[in-house]
Symmetry: C2
Subunit: 333 residues, 2 copies
DNA sequence: CTGTTAGCGCATTCAG
DNA sequence: CTGAATGCGCTAACAG
């Protein structure tokens, strides 16, 4: 495999000039650059990541840390990140952190600390103080998508507002007996994404003077949503409307309702959050949060910081939007 | 950040011994190893990927090349790969190749050639001769999942048999007017995954003495499957059974059938391929191919090769299994 | 079993 | 604008 000195020889310049010409850093005459580029192309020369990184301190790679790979939201955000990063010649190094504590520590204490990446993007990760500190200790730009984290630069949807928007939509249709599927009151007590959506729900209800509502925790899967909706719908004071904190749970709720012989939205309204592509097929009304765009925004943000821009301190705000596809309507009871 | 010489000093040994103790390569006395491990732990030392890789030629990373990130099959296989690789301390570098020719070339000609990875796994990638050659030129183990490729070590389901299995299932139920949704006759003329499933369909029909069948190309999405099924079901000789080459298309077919007021399976049977988690909710009969397991198998295969095992020449075979969830039944017409 | 030595391939000084 | 020299941090011989 051709090395930088092969290129230097072929172009009749020194390795230093080859390096400058190929990286675009430092002055090179147009003539020299042309000869270098031609020689590099002819020889099929590609810079060695290890050597370049050892000498320069830069890696041209961004680490992306996710809790799940096989759920729609995460893979969609990841696709957005990938698009934006590849365009700029960056590689992606993927770190999937399970809930398993040991494996999780290994990612933060070992893998991420190998100096293999120039920046980190986290997706919907709930980090404890130690993990946040560990990330900061890397000394690279960090952008956290989804999940307000006081210790990091975040790029996040205002999930409190999302919860209020969805709930207000139901209230304006005239619903008074509502249920919320999502946050676990204990686990998500803090400012987690599920916790904020739940609080948005509660606040909107309080403002409307409604004191009672049903809460059913679920795990953000279709199955979890279905089970939770089943519990809610079998309660004595069954709700006329359900706000699920994700589209997958909302779809589960629709399926559960159908399974009980209830029509959506005539007998029960359902609204979700996400903008899952599947929602279209269920006529699901949702608060779209443009997952793919979130990934692109995050990638652009880290790239800007790598280009020397100031870190966007505090939190950047991501758009969201109510999309009415018909699964919500005025209550019939 | 602590370097290897800090650890060496703290442990009272040379850097060579630190390297040997930490990597497990080369002899080290138990006493020395213990002191090194303790010192490394205390100092929070983690080896620099670039320096280690430059000196050793190993990177402890595997490249994974995918055509899509945001489709169920790919993200599920990726999750399986990630699990298996992380357990062994390997990082994943992700390369998403679009259909865009320029971007695609960049991945093969630049990104993959930076010597950032010890091995490559490709998922359902249709490679032309040049791309295959480019991969082989990397000089690292390569495992291709899905997509028989005469030029590479592959790990693949026997998609011809999958096509025959699904089709035979329909024939045994008594269907005679069948439709297939999937391969494009021109694009997938070769030994592609869609092409093989289609040929399995054709062969099974031929053996049953059936000469005519409907073919509707589609793009492996729910929407594509729905449109294709719509076309098939509106043809003069509408089929009584549909074999879709993926579960997402099969779900689209079920939705299209429902949209036309047809019952599944009473009016039309539908069978898919994949084992998509969503299938359960549609009662979809399918040929499960255990996507997550495929990823794990592929990861294990490259790890074995990296451990010095002989490359499993030719093709490894992956399991598949008919799962009857009720969307197929004898024809009523 | 251990330490010494010599690079791995490139980016960056610093002179020129 | 260019080239020569230095070292990034670690691993792999080799000799002891």
């Amino acid at each position: 495999m051709a090395g930088i000195d092969d290129v230097a020889r072929a172009a009749g310049v020194s390795t230093a000039t080859v390096s400058r010409a190929l990286s675009g850093r430092g002055p090179v005459s147009a003539a020299a650059r042309d000869r270098v580029l031609a020689a590099a192309d002819r020889l099929g020369y590609v810079v060695s990541a290890a050597a370049s990184s050892l000498a320069s301190g830069r890696t041209r790679a961004v680490g992306v840390v996710v809790p799940f790979l096989d759920r729609w939201f995460f893979s969609t955000v990841l696709a957005g990140i990938s698009d934006a990063l590849v365009r700029q010649g960056y590689d992606i190094t993927l770190y999937s952190v399970s809930t398993d504590a040991t494996g999780r520590r290994r990612v933060f204490d070992d893998h991420l600390r190998r100096r293999r990446i120039d920046a980190v993007i986290t997706i919907a990760l709930e980090l404890d103080a130690e993990e946040s500190a560990s990330l900061r200790g890397l000394g690279v730009p960090i952008v956290a998508i989804a999940g307000p984290n006081p210790l990091l630069t975040t790029l996040t949807v205002d999930d409190l507002a999302v919860g209020r928007l969805a709930t207000t939509h139901l209230l304006e249709l005239g619903h008074r007996r509502l249920a919320h599927i999502g946050a676990d009151a204990v686990r998500d007590a803090g400012a987690t994404v599920p916790g904020l959506r739940r609080r948005g729900f509660e606040e909107a209800l309080a403002e409307a003077g409604i004191e009672r509502a049903l809460f059913e925790p679920a795990d953000f899967t279709i199955e979890g949503g279905s089970d939770a909706a089943d519990r809610a719908l079998s309660s004595p004071a069954a709700p006329t409307a359900i706000f699920a904190a994700s589209d997958e749970m909302a779809i589960g709720a629709i399926l559960a309702a159908r399974g009980r012989g209830l029509r959506v939205p005539e007998d029960v309204s359902v609204i979700g959050v996400d903008g899952h592509e599947l929602g279209r097929w269920f006529g699901l009304t949702t608060v779209d949060q443009f997952a793919r765009g979130q990934g692109e925004r995050a990638a652009d943000a880290v790239l800007a910081e790598l280009d020397g821009a100031e870190p966007a301190r505090g939190r950047g705000t991501l758009p969201f939007e109510l999309v009415d596809r018909g699964s919500t309507a005025p209550p019939s009871r």
